[in-house]
């Protein structure tokens, strides 16, 4: 029973992590490999606001979300806009930004296990003999809410439809009056904002570490690739698959193997069906 519940929570965590990455990279086709950096930026940001500057918890969360949005928009305007269309350059350049962003925290001494965020709510409930704390319940609920929100947002709002349009055919999108730079920047900001939200929800479970940023990027990448870039259903299915697989390996083997599961999942899917389980776009372009 415990395994099933913790597997579900783990899947919810993965879905949350992947959401922002999927929105930017999957849905609008803008590479955001600085995602891990934004994730820990939000985590450390909230920590600094609460512990060093003495802000209220909820106020700090608001500031962190806003700041992440702005960082996303700035990265888009400074870096991505200039190399737009060259997918590989986008990947490498944002990856460079990400590495720089993460390691700068290490330089300023944010190392070790003393950096943690407080939980949103205290307490917990017991289901079938397993106690779950309120943070994990919040994660489960928020994951479902956000997935549904993103699903409807990208299908029934103008901005959301524009996100998908610039990935499908930028020129056609332009003829419909979509300013692809503006939409790309908003998408990047939105994705970063979701990343920050997931950081605030997930980080209370453990410590904020620089290495965590790399793992976040890899996990998000794994979920998006396995599910198929740009597919919200794919994100759900893939995070359930990888989430349960990770929980089982952690339970029967060791926690060392958990990351390996994501990596093997990426390798397998790329080898067998590179467009992922649920993706319809770009089937022809990815292989010779």
């Amino acid at each position: 029973m415990g395994i099933l519940i913790y597997g579900f929570i783990n899947s919810a965590i993965l879905a949350l992590l992947a959401m922002g990455f999927n929105l930017t990279f999957g849905i609008s086709g803008v590479a955001n490999f600085a995602y891990g950096a934004i994730y820990i930026f939000a985590g450390f940001g909230v920590w600094i606001l609460i512990n060093l500057l003495g802000f209220n918890y909820w106020v700090s969360i608001g500031i962190a979300l806003l700041a992440s949005f702005l960082v996303g928009v700035i990265i888009f305007h400074v870096v991505i806009k200039r190399i737009k269309g060259m997918a590989l350059s986008e990947v490498i350049a944002t990856f460079g930004v990400g590495i720089a962003g993460m390691e700068i925290f290490r330089y300023f001494g944010f190392i070790g296990s003393k950096y943690g965020l407080p939980s949103l709510f205290s307490g917990g409930i017991t289901v079938g003999g397993v106690t779950i704390d309120s943070q994990r319940i919040t994660i489960g609920i928020m994951a479902v809410v956000l997935v549904i929100f993103v699903y409807f947002f990208t299908r029934y709002t103008k901005t959301g439809l524009a996100f998908r349009a610039i990935a499908q055919d930028e020129r056609t999108a332009l003829t419909f009056g979509i300013n692809s730079d503006k939409v790309g920047a908003i998408s990047m900001g939105f994705g970063s904002c979701l990343g920050a939200a997931s950081a605030i929800l997930i980080l209370p479970l453990g410590n904020i570490t620089v290495e965590g940023g790399y793992d976040v990027l890899l996990n998000a990448l794994a979920v998006c690739i396995v599910g198929g870039l740009g597919s919200s259903v794919g994100v759900l299915v893939a995070s359930a698959l990888i989430g349960y697989a990770q929980t089982f390996t952690a339970f029967y083997l060791e926690t060392h193997w958990m990351m390996l599961v994501s990596l093997i999942a990426i390798a397998l899917i790329l080898g067998i069906k590179p467009s992922g389980l649920f993706s319809q776009q770009k089937e022809l372009e990815e292989r010779v």
Binding site: L88, V91, G96, A100, E103, Y107, L270, E286, R287
Partner: protein, 338 residues
């Protein structure tokens, strides 16, 4: 246009000496022979003869520069065949571990373990990636980004091959001179060999695969077979750097798969200028010594790699080498726009 200031436009014209020595090899004039030979002699003379004038510490930096340059060249070579790798550390790590195994368990001396590890390591990498050679662009890059991390976690989880501690106490080179000249000769061989290869028919096929793989298929050539060969050749160079590093440090371990070895070569190649092997070397000889200077700042070093990578892509898309060779071959002047 009247009343307005005349607009100027930049015009580039080949230098006369270039035009003359381009296809008629005008060896009857020393000037023209030197024009052709000069830039090619700089790396040869520089790398081989300058060594003795430096302190051992400086030579150490040159050695590590050369191994990054080799990784950058191998990245560039795979790139010319349309294989964009984000994980040169896979090559470095596999080469390093093969050498480690050969030396640690089988007691191979260094002059045997390095060539054997180079070839077998590259074979392994090729076999690992042969299933995904169909993938293009970003998809291929992602799998190369993931594989070295996977190996790292695998070694961490299974504790094989020394686990997190790695294999220590391996054979060293007899002295610094052997290692210095070994890596420099390898670098020169790779640099000039690949430049040659690029101009041959074989190189033409590889470049064509990058530009338009479907038309190469139309020409009746097996794209995957050529890609696999390119992977193997590029892999040999990368694995050699790893094998060399293992004996040089007398250690092989998980750091071989570290992000350092993936990021740095790409940064070198891009700073130096994509599409040229000499550019990768130029980039390495700027970035690696600079990184060495920054070593004192600890983690800031990686911040520096990352920002440099981004900077060179965004601000210097052409690269230094293209810039330099343009200055060497052409004159620039402003002319009035009519």
């Amino acid at each position: 246009m009247e009343g307005k200031k005349a607009e100027l436009r930049k015009e580039r014209i080949d230098r006369g000496i270039k035009a003359r020595s381009d296809d008629i090899f005008a060896l009857n004039s020393w000037r023209e022979a030197l024009f052709l030979l000069g830039p090619r002699a700089v790396p040869v003379v520089g790398l081989l003869l300058v060594g003795p004038f430096f302190s051992p510490y400086m030579r150490e930096i040159l050695i590590s520069t050369a191994s990054y340059a080799l990784l950058a060249i191998s990245w560039e070579f795979m790139m010319t065949a349309g294989l964009t790798s984000l994980g040169q550390s896979l090559l470095f790590g596999v080469g390093a571990y093969f050498t480690g195994i050969l030396n640690y368990y089988l007691k191979f001396p260094w002059f045997l373990s390095i060539p054997v590890a180079t070839v077998t390591g590259s074979l392994l990498v090729t076999l690992l990636l042969v299933f995904v050679l169909r993938l293009r662009g970003v998809y291929f890059s992602m799998i190369t980004l993931v594989l070295p991390l996977m190996f790292m976690r695998l070694i961490e989880a299974t504790r094989i091959l020394g686990g997190t501690e790695g294999l220590t106490g391996l054979d060293a080179f007899p002295n610094q001179w052997v290692s210095y000249y070994l890596i420099m000769l390898a670098l020169l061989f790779a640099l000039f060999g690949f430049r040659r290869l690029q101009d041959s028919d074989y190189g033409l096929i590889l470049r064509a695969i990058k530009d338009d793989d479907r038309s190469v298929m139309n020409a009746g050539l097996n794209v995957y077979w050529y890609k696999a060969q390119a992977l193997f050749i590029g892999g040999c160079v990368g694995c050699f750097a790893g094998a060399f590093g293992t004996h040089y440090d007398m250690f092989c371990g998980m750091p071989g798969f570290a992000l350092d070895y993936s990021i740095m070569p790409i940064a070198c190649a891009l700073l130096g200028g994509g599409g040229t092997f000499a550019g990768s070397v130029v980039g390495a000889f700027i970035l690696v010594p600079l990184a060495e200077v920054l070593r004192a700042f600890g983690a800031l070093r990686i911040v520096f790699y990352g920002s440099f990578l981004t900077f060179s892509i965004v601000a210097l898309p052409e690269g230094l080498f293209h810039f330099l060779s343009r200055k060497y071959h052409q004159i620039e002047r402003y002319v009035e726009v009519r």
